[in-house]
């Protein structure tokens, strides 16, 4: 091998001490360097400029030569192009690039090389997300001068436009995070996601305009005071949720990201007591409680569907902690038994939130009904774990068994409705299905007043049986954990003795 003499260092310009990239995370620097050179970015940048320049010139010519009507048409055309380009860029182009970006790392296995450095899955995913958002902002900023030029063609609400841009950026952040998560899914699901995304895109502009102007976009409904701030807060939590989901797709088993995933719905619950204490119960707080409930449901489902077993590295940090903290850290381990503890605790916290909103004079929540609903939800969430535990070992990988059980059990409710509507002779079918896991929760949501006292008792019994069975089946997990702890302790003792 020949050795080249160290002539003026070819690498030096990029690594000078104190250079700008030295201040930024490695993954972000790499993604920005790659992204800003990519044909997609450069092409979009030039294309948008050319298109807007042409639209503006045509508009200016029409304004100077034409009538007032022609001037209005020119303004509307320029306005339409301006917002369409921004919307396409932020809500289609950027999330699409996110989908391709992480997928490429996974399919070419370059992600293996990244994970052997000091980068972990979280840094990889967030590096990509931040880079894509920076590129989106750069493209947006490059088009903004045309937005100001529109001012000369007609009346432009600069503050309103800025709010719309911010809302579009928020939407782009959410969809880009969803795109990064989607990169780890199957091809068919990805294609379906893109098709659905394109359809949603059709209504996205209207929804964002309505949101920034203080309405819901239909039936003249206005946002409750404080609700818009909560939407921003919840949007940020959803972005974090999608990023954590993307991280889980690429993270090696030794990395444990369950703590953040499980903390997010609890963070969504946080504004409820704060709001209730500071300003009393309100519609916004009730809506937040509902959102936190659905968010908790979603996260619990994803966590309970995992049959992973903890590794020593996951609880190493817990070894020297106080007993109380160690119990808490047991709720942050991968695998459904740990998620079971978390689900029960989460449901309890949600009920406490409900109780706080039950202040006389407020919009109120029926605590008994909320508890009953929480119990049915818990039964529905935990029942697939019981099935998963008795399923063949090979079938447990992935969330297949959990989701299939959940969907099948849930499908019994509409099926019973359909059959009973065809023949009243089998009305008892509905009575039976109304006490089964998952479908009982659907009945409770659709027809809360149609459930008899006997059915409620039966639902309670079914719930206790399901939770008890899951608790019993979770023994293997805790025994595995104890075994790992004992081995660790033995090895530590041997090292000390040696």
């Amino acid at each position: 091998m020949t050795t080249t003499n160290p002539s003026p260092s070819t690498f030096a310009p990029t690594i000078a001490r104190g250079d700008f990239p030295a201040w930024l995370p490695a993954m972000l620097v790499k993604e920005l360097r790659q992204g800003l050179r990519a044909r997609g970015f450069v092409g979009a940048f030039i294309g948008f400029q050319v298109l807007m320049a042409i639209v503006m010139m045509v508009g200016a010519a029409q304004s100077m030569l034409g009538s007032a009507q022609a001037r209005a048409l020119a303004f509307n055309t320029a306005n339409g192009f301006f917002w369409t380009l921004i919307t396409v860029q932020l809500l289609l182009f950027t999330p699409g690039r996110a989908l391709g970006s992480l997928q490429l790392e996974v399919t070419t296995r370059t992600v293996d090389l990244l994970l052997l450095t000091r980068l972990n899955a979280w840094r990889i995913v967030t590096g990509k997300w931040v880079s894509l958002m920076v590129q989106a902002v750069l493209l947006l900023v490059s088009i903004l001068p045309y937005g100001i030029v529109r001012y000369f063609a007609g009346s432009v609400d600069l503050v309103g436009d800025a709010r719309q841009c911010a809302a579009l950026l928020g939407g782009a952040g959410l969809l880009t995070a969803a795109g990064l998560w989607g990169a780890g899914l199957g091809k068919v699901i990805r294609i379906l996601g893109v098709v659905v995304g394109v359809f949603i895109f059709g209504g996205a502009r209207g929804a964002i305009t309505a949101f920034t102007s203080g309405g819901l976009g239909f039936a003249g409904i206005r946002w409750a005071p404080g609700a818009q701030s909560l939407v921003w807060f919840d949007g940020a939590l959803l972005i974090a949720f999608f990023l954590v989901a993307a991280v889980r797709n690429i993270a090696p088993p030794a990395e444990n990201h369950t703590l953040l995933a499980r903390a997010l719905p609890l963070a969504a619950l946080l504004p409820v007591p704060v709001g209730a204490i500071l300003s009393g119960p309100s519609v916004a707080m009730t809506a937040q409680l509902m959102f936190a409930g659905f968010f908790l449901l979603l996260v619990c489902m994803t966590q309970l569907a995992s049959y992973d077993l903890p590794m020593s590295v996951h609880f190493r940090s817990a070894r020297r902690r106080a007993a109380g903290l160690r119990v808490f850290l047991r709720m942050t381990l991968p695998g459904w038994p740990s998620a079971l503890l978390y689900t029960l605790s989460g449901a309890l916290l949600w009920l406490l939130g409900s109780a706080l909103l039950r202040i006389p004079g407020g919009p109120g929540i029926d605590l008994a009904r909320a508890s009953w609903l929480a119990m049915l939800m818990l039964t529905g969430l935990i029942f697939p774990c019981v099935v998963m535990a008795i399923a063949p070992q090979k079938a447990r990988a992935g969330a297949g068994v959990y989701m299939a059980t959940f969907v099948t059990a849930g499908a019994l409710a509409p099926l019973a409705y359909a059959l009973v509507s065809m023949s009243s002779k089998i009305a008892t079918l509905k009575t039976v299905v109304a006490v089964l896991p998952v479908s009982s929760a659907i009945f409770a949501l659709v027809e809360p007043d149609a459930v008899s006292a006997g059915q409620v008792v039966a639902q309670g019994v079914v719930g206790l049986v399901v939770i008890g069975a899951a608790w019993w089946q979770a023994r293997f997990y805790w025994q595995h954990l104890t075994g790992l702890e004992l081995r660790e302790r033995r090895e530590a003792t041997a090292v000390t003795a040696g």
Partner: protein, 317 residues
């Protein structure tokens, strides 16, 4: 750390894929500073085993300890010490060679002057400095492999795992690569290399591990394997002056000899008589019995022959 602890200790490693045991109870130790070749046909389990050693895959059973640290349970503690060069290399689009190495240097936590120094070292060692501003997807196979090795060396790892590093290289690039491995060995790196080009492994490696159907068939030093595995068999090349017939008759009468090839001026024969002393006695007798021997020497088997022969034998336990 006690000196009795092997640098790498692999015990009863098992990895299943959909019911098939891709790696089936693999155990071996590697001393520090050794260059070890991993040989096996396609599907023998080499890459699966290497991925587990590189902490990129989890075994279903078994332990791997690197300097006493269980890397199955604590992969993050040893990753900085491992250099992994996969069998395929996907270049990043829109990235130059300099940017690529710069990124991986930063990803390993290097900054400023340390990063510059390390980049210069690996760029000179692997001769990629001249490629610095080239897009990495426009490199030849040999250049790509050099870049890949440069990336692998950035964190100055103790343990290098090279999966098929010479695949697709032309003869010149192969020679260069062999030289690089030689230098790395001199620098005290422990290297595990897999390759289909067995003759090259024979030249580069101190020890060879032969894998078949997920199991270790043989594990021993290269010279022993080339001389005939257990040392009980050796191949002799005997040259005579004049007629070959007396030699052939003599060999046919001796039970410890088996003619493998009759040559124009002699024969190639396998001696299965045991130790070197037995062989010396036989050669003395050959001369004493009047065969006009002008030359005899021990022949090494080619690694391919040794590999095929060993596949017929039961695996080591």
């Amino acid at each position: 750390m006690s000196t009795t602890v092997p640098f790498l200790a692999v015990r009863d490693l098992v990895r299943r894929f959909e019911g098939v045991r891709a790696v089936n109870g693999v155990s071996f130790d590697l001393p520090a500073g050794a260059v070890v070749g991993l040989i096996g046909a396609n599907g023998a389990g080499k890459t699966t085993a290497m991925r587990m050693l590189a902490t990129l895959d989890l075994p279903d059973a078994g332990t791997i300890k690197l300097n006493g640290v269980n890397i199955v349970e604590y992969p993050n503690e040893v990753r900085a010490r491992i250099g992994w060069m996969p069998d395929h290399f996907a270049p990043y689009p829109d990235t130059t060679v300099a940017d690529y190495l710069d990124f991986f240097g930063r990803a390993h936590g290097l900054r400023g002057a340390d990063l510059a120094r390390r980049l210069d070292e690996v760029a000179d060692f692997t001769d990629v400095r001249v490629l610095a501003n080239r897009p990495m997807d426009k490199l030849s196979k040999g250049q790509t492999q050099r870049l890949c090795l440069a990336r692998t060396l950035l964190n100055d790892p103790d343990f290098l795992i090279l999966d098929e590093p010479a695949a697709g290289l032309d003869p010149k690039a192969r020679l260069e690569f062999k030289n690089l491995v030689r230098v790395l060995r001199e620098r005290g790196k422990t290297i595990l290399i897999s390759s289909h080009i067995l003759s090259e492994l024979g030249e580069m490696c101190d020890t060879l591990i032969l894998m078949d159907r997920g199991a270790v068939m043989h594990h021993g030093d290269t010279s022993t394997i080339l001389r005939g595995g257990k040392g009980t068999t050796c191949l002799m090349h005997i040259v005579v002056h004049g007629e070959v017939a007396p030699l052939m008759q003599w060999l046919a009468l001796r039970p410890s000899w088996k003619v493998t090839e009759e040559l124009r001026n002699g024969a190639r024969a396998e001696f299965t008589g045991g130790d070197p002393e037995g062989l010396a006695t036989e050669l003395r007798r050959l001369v004493r019995d009047g065969v006009a021997v002008v030359d005899f020497h021990r022949e090494e088997r080619r690694l391919e022959e040794a590999f095929v022969e060993m596949l017929r034998e039961p695996p080591v336990l």
